[in-house]
Symmetry: C2
Subunit: 200 residues, 2 copies
Amino acid sequence: MAGTAGPEIERLIQLLAKLPGLGPRSARRAALHLMKKREALMEPLAAAMAEAAEKIRPCSICGNLDVSDPCTVCRDPKRGDSVICVVETVGDLWALERAGAFAGKYHVLGGVLSALDGVGPDDLNLASLIERAGNGSVSEVILALNATVDGQTTAHVIADRLAHTGVSVTSLARGVPVGGELDYLDDGTLAAAFRSRRPT
Amino acid sequence: MAGTAGPEIERLIQLLAKLPGLGPRSARRAALHLMKKREALMEPLAAAMAEAAEKIRPCSICGNLDVSDPCTVCRDPKRGDSVICVVETVGDLWALERAGAFAGKYHVLGGVLSALDGVGPDDLNLASLIERAGNGSVSEVILALNATVDGQTTAHVIADRLAHTGVSVTSLARGVPVGGELDYLDDGTLAAAFRSRRPT
């Protein structure tokens, strides 16, 4: 509630409050800031949002979100076709790209299997992954899923379905994060780091 | 940096990061959320923002932001004309309206006098306030400015300039906030609450 402002401002605040990280109070603050910087921020942001809403589509190959289909990653000739990295969300893809850790192609599942949330194999981009992995040019599928129970369940199901294709299926290493202090790590991570110890 | 996303997404993230309360990381999260809820959130928000940017203007009487000029408050026939409440920002006006504490008209200064930030009397809606207060129908001006040094300096300057008009100039009471614990209050507030004590 902005009080006596017109319905247009009310509606703007209500919509802003739906963004992750903004509540009713910070949405009001954001709306005031936008109205103060009308030409410098509000108009460009409205235009950028309208353009993105119009142009952005999921990539028909990998499920990444981009303004072109196939997406920038799938069209990049410098990236190899033989390794596919499977991620849960576009946000995870962005994180891996920021880290510069991978130069192959991706496959965005769009979530993980979850009995609790009623997410089954048909709700994910799973069939298209099996198809891509079996097309003959793929030698390895890296499962970069979150180290959560649902993430690991999903990894097992994918590994199972890929078994017949003969491609090698790998997962990200578990261990001590860079900069991590042993004292603050959970038992599972410590145990995994011990099991996977390697010569220095 | 969203990694491999197109320039449209990059730009959306950069603009979102300029909102108060959002940093680069939460702006990425907000952009992903918007792209996921394209029809339910991104398109309506873009439209609401464009509409607000086009329609919202400062009220020529009081400085409030609204889609109509004079604003909803100034046009309201149920609100008295004899008392003007002076606030620093539109956000303060909204806060007082939410509290339902005041049924007169407002005057938004657009800031406070500040030697440090180089804000002088000409940078505020001060001249129009003196004019409004002196038009004969106003009997009281309530200074609802923040209890900061700059806020109080500004209050003194306004009181000074209104002295010749003969309208009574008042300020919000200082005291213990509702729900406040004495142990956590600063000395200035406690001293002010003692000075302004009243029969129960």
